[in-house]
Amino acid sequence: MNRIFASRLFWPVVMLLALFIVNLIAFPGFFSIELKNEHLFGSLIDIVRNGAPTLIIAIGMTLVIATRGIDLSVGAICAIAGAVACSIILGSPDPGSVGTVVVAIVVAMVISLVLGVWNGFLVAVLGIQPIIATLILMTAGRGVAMLITEGQILTVNSPPFKVLGSGFLFGLPVATVIAVAIFVLAALLTRRTALGLLIESVGINPEASRQAGVRSRGLLFAVYTFCAFCAAVAGLILTSNQTAADANNTGLFIELDAILAVVIGGTSLMGGRYSLLGTLVGALVIQTLVTTVYTVGIPPIATMVFKAAVVTVVCLLQSPTTNAAFARWRTSLSSRTRKGVAA
């Protein structure tokens, strides 16, 4: 059991360590963490803070992918959540009060949950392929966000709202604390109960799981709604961090980063077995990659080329063809050595 666990996380961890070493060579103070004003500072802290939105969405995405689905609409949901929260804060007489911010956040979350239920409806009830079903919201969602912001970039100046993106709690960035909380919540809910097993069974064989009495419809609703919840949290953090809601750019391409994190973490896009811990490592790999690009001095605009390279390499490593080739190579190698011994 332990060995299987280790082998699944092996490559992602190796990749993360390799990136750490590259960083350490380029920037010797990489691992140092300082305590200033009771807040922790350092490159590692930056990684866990800036990587928090991607990680949060990737957690939701992991469960969706485990059901053999995909959610492309998370970026649009980020934008909508941010737009709703900012427009409420701006529209209120007292933008700085905690009450206003709580109302704004609650309304944004509720709207996002409705969007998640909508995705779940398209996939579970109408039976539309997940890529296409969520493509609809991905296309229309940014338009809706634009409608909410009326095409403007809404800049908010609300100290309580700012805490979400750039505040600190127990010396750690609030965004990181939220990400860890959601991670623990998802892990406890799916791994300490049968929920995770049921989700995996739906992903491995929908028909067989239905005949075994698994109610896949409710599960699909649950995972898409949870994913939208995660997207909304991430959207609020991103918006709070920029202190502005930008319907066009908030969460742009974040669906790709999240999918990438899941894939790097070893969860197969074909559904079934998933690893939340793998996703955590995957999200860290992506954020560390971005940081590395900065510290090594490569122009940051080239980051996307590196991401493309990472996706390609990871996919090729996971591909059945490659695995089969490796297996053939290993057997031929061992048979050759056996022959050698015999001679």
Partner: protein, 338 residues
């Protein structure tokens, strides 16, 4: 097959039944619905604005959307096999950047254009090999290609580069007159020529039949001895080529290269193909349907422009809604046939 509620004894009954059969067939139904939708959308435009249903407006649809027609043709091939290509928007942007930067460096247009088409076709080939040989899902493979193409755009230049090459400028400004106050651009001619070629390829060649066969059932195609592997790779090469060509047409249209152009164009192309009646699971669909899909999107865009008070982001919402309606329509039509 559903049984008709009344016996089609009379001639009229048979005709009615025939019409219903055509409309409910997964092959022709969505295309016909799209055609009716196009007429309805035009009628709406015509009833609201004077001069909407006129030669120049209709021709402008083609002029403004020539590159999208080209993209939709390539996308049709991919979707017919049951795949999807998310990289087309990024590849268009990359083509404009390659064109603009090489022309700026003094290369001649006669070298640059073939070079772009070769580069994008090779990128399509790599995607096709990833999909076919390594069994990577098409949307992940094309996602990687999208990252790569966008990233390369940024590597070439962060800023917009304008094009002053005489050949490109000439092509951008050439108007082919078509009677009274009406004209089209060379891009439209190229796009229409491509559509015709694609129609011939899909309906009168082995490649085309194999594309439909793969979409119908890859397994059966393989058992019939069709070159499934080769065709699966080829459709991505075709899509790559079309993206490159669309990029070239796009530079004729804008006379510049910019790394952030055509963000989200892949969605427009997919929407056009789906609205045009191509089944997302593959097997059914026509290139001409995709052209109708582009025209529907273009007409909606034109109406929104004519309206003036409606903001442009309504286009996105309309596209989303249309996408939803047509996907549900496909679902219903295919479910009835089973």
């Amino acid at each position: 097959m559903s049984v008709a509620p009344f016996p089609p004894a009379t001639g009229a009954g048979r005709v009615l039944g025939g019409i219903r059969d055509v409309f409910t067939s997964p092959k022709y139904g969505p295309v016909l619905v799209t055609f009716l939708l196009l007429i309805v959308v035009f009628a709406v435009g015509g009833s609201r604005y004077r001069g909407f249903v006129s030669g120049p407006v209709i021709l402008n649809l083609f002029v403004d959307n020539a590159y999208l027609i080209v993209l939709a043709v390539g996308m049709t091939f991919v979707i017919l096999t049951g795949g999807i290509d998310l990289s087309v928007g990024a590849v268009v942007a990359m083509s404009t950047m390659i064109a603009a930067s090489l022309l700026q460096a003094g290369w001649s247009a006669g070298v640059v254009i073939p070079l772009i088409l070769v580069v994008t076709s090779v990128l399509g080939l790599l995607v096709g090999l990833m999909v076919q040989v390594f069994k990577i899902q098409s949307f992940i493979a094309t996602l990687a290609a999208m990252f790569l193409a966008r990233g390369l755009c940024y590597v070439i230049s962060k800023d917009s580069i304008s094009i002053t090459d005489p050949f490109f400028v000439a092509l951008a400004q050439t108007k082919i007159p078509l009677g009274d106050r009406m004209s089209i651009t060379p891009s439209v001619v190229i796009a229409i020529a491509l559509v015709l070629v694609a129609m011939v390829v899909l309906h009168y060649t082995r490649l085309g039949r194999t594309v439909y066969a793969i979409g119908g059932s890859e397994q059966s195609g393989m058992l019939m001895g069709l070159p499934v592997a080769r065709t699966n790779v080829l459709v991505y090469v075709i899509s790559g080529f079309c993206s490159g060509l669309a990029g070239v047409l796009f530079t004729f249209y804008t006379l510049s290269g910019y790394s952030l152009t055509a963000v989200g164009t892949e969605l427009d192309a997919i929407a056009a193909v789906v609205i045009g009646g191509t089944l997302l699971t593959g097997g059914y669909g026509f290139v001409l349907g995709s052209v109708l899909g582009v025209l529907v999107l273009g007409t909606i865009q034109t109406i929104i422009t004519f309206e003036g008070t409606l903001s442009s982001w309504w286009t996105r919402i309309f596209i989303g809604v249309l996408l939803l309606v047509f996907i549900i329509l496909q679902k219903i039509l295919t479910a009835r046939r089973r």
